[in-house]
Amino acid sequence: MTTATSDDHPTRRDFLFVATGAAATVGGLASLWPFVSQMNPDASTIAAGAPIEVDLSPIADGQDIKVFWRGKPIYIMHRTKKQVEEAQQVPLSDLKDPATDQSRVKEGHDQWLVVIGICTHLGCIPIAHEGNYDGFFCPCHGSQYDSSGRIRQGPAPLNLAVPPYAFLSDTKIQIG
């Protein structure tokens, strides 16, 4: 009796097993999704990451401030003439991650450098106005960035990143 049922409809039996197995697999995988998705930033974190406005008027020539956006330190540096010139005159061939100074600032606002203050090596915060290039020096493993935030020396592979920002007026920027 047993062999009769199983041998009569081999395909039907196989189909049933495959369908059940497939349903279990798909269902199991789908129910894993919430457990992965919950690791992403939650709604309040995303909302808190909205753009911020920064008033530049209090920052004097040669000074810099650090603001936080999405938990990241953002350096806003009011560069001196000397710093701007240095940054513009470096030949691209000297650079590890070639980029012109113009491409890293907003047109007409050459004196303002806005970069994410996170070393591209392993994430330490470089110190402003230190190092050999009038820019930034990372104390962790000695990376040095110039006055345009470009990597010049040390283990870091890339220039300091420029966050998305725009000038709302001559003295106000919006980051994000």
């Binding site: 199983s6 059940t20 919430p34 709604a43």
Partner: protein
């Protein structure tokens, strides 16, 4: 146990590994080749169901701990933020909270099954005692988990349960202080409960391993309670038991999903949506349903120490069960008397549970004492006596014979069923009378959001927001709602731009600035609705000593007794709208003149539906007070409906997503259950 496995992996790499750590053959001999009695019925699938539930609880628990903050000031809020902000947070939280109940439900079935079929008898005593230990650990874990959301029931449950230990002479108070880490339940208590709540499930998992080990040494019991003799009595664990267990699990998941997606608050207590308040005890302290029978026994004893001892011994007595019942026949199937007493015992436990949920007064106290006596009599008198006097029917020679003869009487036992119906009918009538006496129950309203496909009425949400802004917000905060939520899917449906404009109308306190001073700025979508008062004291001072409650959760934090049998119907009809009915009734329940014979203290107002009738809030809404742009009538009934809808959304902002996902899950689960059923039939076709 089938002895050392002769399993040999085919791949050379696995053979290499197997010679060094024979884990594959251990798994093979325990879960694949393991001989299972072929007469097991579906009650035996609860072992697998429990393993699955333990896994789900640990998984969801670990994930929730990633978002939860075990601090007395932050815990309640962090749980709300999990539900509101974390991706699928509402799902994970429901799974965990409902999962605890499902876990207990399954363990009770599992325990009663063991009781009925004599699974505790020689040679399975240690197996049974390990089970009792698991159950005790579960109770401790469940209790501490219930404390973590730090609502009113959490706090007062923790207070009451820890105070149980104060009953012990001399050492009691020392123990209680030790448990609290302070002079009352507080932040240190919460912290250590969190730590232990995280630890204990892993202990449970460890004891479960021992439990399964002991099971595999003694072999599974079975409905006929006779030992396996030959190979003909058994089927291999895989695929037979595995498939059957999986089918059982799938059906169980249907029940579980019903609660998760449609009735997440059915098993909880409305009071736990009120943040813990050490200055005020809720009117009824009721533990979670799975502790109710023991709570009833505790309360029915008029002496503190005796009550505590009775409660603890009601569980510990289970340890001695293998020796209290010395009858040789295991299964009640062949014990006509024991079978009847078993069902009576089941009814006693259910009734004790019902009593535990009722206020300890009048007839309930007496009934509690009688039933407590019955509970202990079952173990101490009935079972030992039956072991001596009962004449069991003859058991079949072997499991194979039992299966072929199909001797088991499938008919429902008469006597206990009749008793159950009588008692049930009595309760029904009794509470129907109760219901008649209470005409202050809020009238049931029609809500667009009720039922499995319920959705919020966008118009009502927008009008309700207007009422909140113009009227309620003068006294009531809405702490858990951010402006951005107004643009969330399933909400009032405003656009991002509308929300930004609305937010900027508010002044939000921010700071400190570079000068170290706080300042005010226009609101942003990420800001929360500002509270009308700076702190609780200011709120009380402005409101004649009363504290206007935060409204974010009010539609879930208020409820009323549904009573037997309605709470049973509610499970099927998905009735969850006590809160909205109540809020709406309060808004419309004000009367200028209290009825004759009712005096209302100065500074309070008469409200028909407020418990005690004297409410501190003056009538907040009257006809014509708020005008709507969409032409909806400016009547109190309309206001009550709209603002209640808005508050329900505020309390349960993810409801539409929940019900939508619930529908999808049900479609898939039902298909899966059918597939499993036919697969199971195929696999078992040659075993029956």
């Amino acid at each position: 146990m089938s002895g050392p496995s002769d399993y040999k992996p085919s791949h050379p790499a696995l053979q290499w590994f197997e010679r060094r750590l024979p884990i594959l053959s251990l798994v093979h001999s325990s879960f694949v080749a393991y001989p299972t009695p072929r007469n097991l019925n579906y009650w035996w699938t609860f072992g697998a169901i429990l393993s699955v539930m333990l896994g789900i609880q640990i998984l969801t628990g670990v994930v929730l701990a990633m978002h939860y903050t075990p601090n007395a000031d932050l815990a309640f809020r962090s749980v709300e933020l999990i539900v509101r902000d974390v991706n699928f947070g509402w799902l994970l939280r429901n799974m965990h909270a409902v999962g605890a109940s499902m876990f207990f439900f399954a363990v009770y079935v599992h325990m009663f099954r063991g009781l009925y079929y004599g699974s505790y008898k020689e040679p399975r005593e240690v197996l049974w005692i390990l089970g009792v230990i698991i159950y005790l650990l579960m109770m401790a874990t469940g209790f501490m988990g219930y404390v973590l959301p730090w609502g009113q029931m959490s706090f007062w449950g923790a207070t009451v349960i820890t105070n149980l230990f104060s009953a012990f002479p001399y050492v009691g108070d020392t123990i209680v202080t030790l448990l609290w880490g302070g002079y009352s339940v507080g932040n240190p208590t919460l912290n250590r409960f969190f730590s232990l709540h995280y630890l204990l499930p892993f202990l449970i998992a460890g004891v479960v391993v021992l439990h399964v080990w002991a099971l595999h040494v003694a072999g599974q019991n079975n409905p006929d309670g006779i030992e396996v003799k030959t190979d003909k009595d058994t089927v291999p664990f895989t695929p037979h038991a595995t498939i059957k267990d999986m089918f059982g699990v799938a059906v169980f998941l249907l029940l579980y999903a019903w609660f998760i997606f449609y009735m997440p608050n059915y098993l909880g207590d409305a009071d736990n949506y009120i943040p813990a308040n050490p200055a005020q005890t809720p009117a009824h302290i009721v533990p979670e349903w799975y502790y109710l029978p023991f709570y009833a026994m505790l309360r029915s004893i008029p002496n503190k120490l005796a009550g505590v001892l009775v409660m603890f011994s009601s569980i510990l007595i289970l340890v001695f069960l293998p020796w209290l019942d010395s009858a040789k026949t295991r299964s009640c199937k062949y014990r006509p008397l024991a079978k009847q007493f078993f069902w009576i015992f089941v009814v006693v436990c259910i009734l004790l549970g019902y009593l535990g949920s009722q206020p300890p007064e009048g007839i309930y106290v007496i009934a509690g004492r009688i039933l407590t006596a019955c509970y202990f009599a079952y173990f101490l008198i009935v079972l030992p006596l039956l072991s001596v006097i009962e004449r069991p029917r003859a058991t079949p020679n072997s499991i194979a014979d039992a299966v072929l003869a199909k001797t088991g009487s499938k008919s429902i036992p008469m006597v206990p069923t009749v008793i159950a119906i009588m008692i049930g009918g009595g309760l029904l009538i009794g509470s129907a009378q109760n219901a008649r006496a209470e005409e202050d129950t809020p009238p049931a309203q029609k809500w667009s959001f009720s039922g499995p496909f319920g959705k919020y009425d966008r118009g009502a949400l927008q009008r309700g927001l207007k009422i909140y802004k113009e009227v309620c917000s003068n006294c009531h905060s809405l702490n858990y709602i951010a402006f951005r939520n107004l643009a969330d899917p399933g909400g009032p449906g405003y656009s991002e731009a509308q929300v930004a404009a609305l937010a900027s109308e508010y002044k939000i306190k921010d700071g400190p600035n570079d000068q170290g001073e706080m300042f005010e700025r226009p609101g942003r979508p990420a800001d929360y609705f500002p509270a009308p008062f700076a702190n609780e004291q200011a709120a009380r001072a402005a409101n004649g000593g009363g504290l206007p409650p935060d409204l974010s959760l009010i539609a879930k934090a208020r409820s009323y007794e549904r009573g037997f049998p309605y709470f049973i119907f509610d499970f099927f009809t998905q009735f969850q709208e006590q809160g909205p009915n109540y809020v709406s009734a309060i808004l419309q329940g004000f009367e200028d003149k209290p009825p004759a014979g009712v005096t209302i203290p100065d500074g309070s107002y008469y409200n028909k539906y407020f418990p005690g009738h004297a409410i501190k809030m003056p009538k907040p809404l009257s006809d014509g007070q708020v005008t709507f742009d969409d032409g909806s009538p400016a009547t109190l009934a309309q206001y009550a409906h709209d603002v209640t809808t808005f508050l329900m959304w505020a309390a349960e902002p993810k409801m539409e997503a929940r019900k939508q996902l619930g529908f999808q899950v049900f479609v898939i689960l039902i298909i899966f259950v059918f597939l499993m059923y036919f697969t199971k039939k195929k696999v078992w076709a040659d075993a029956h």
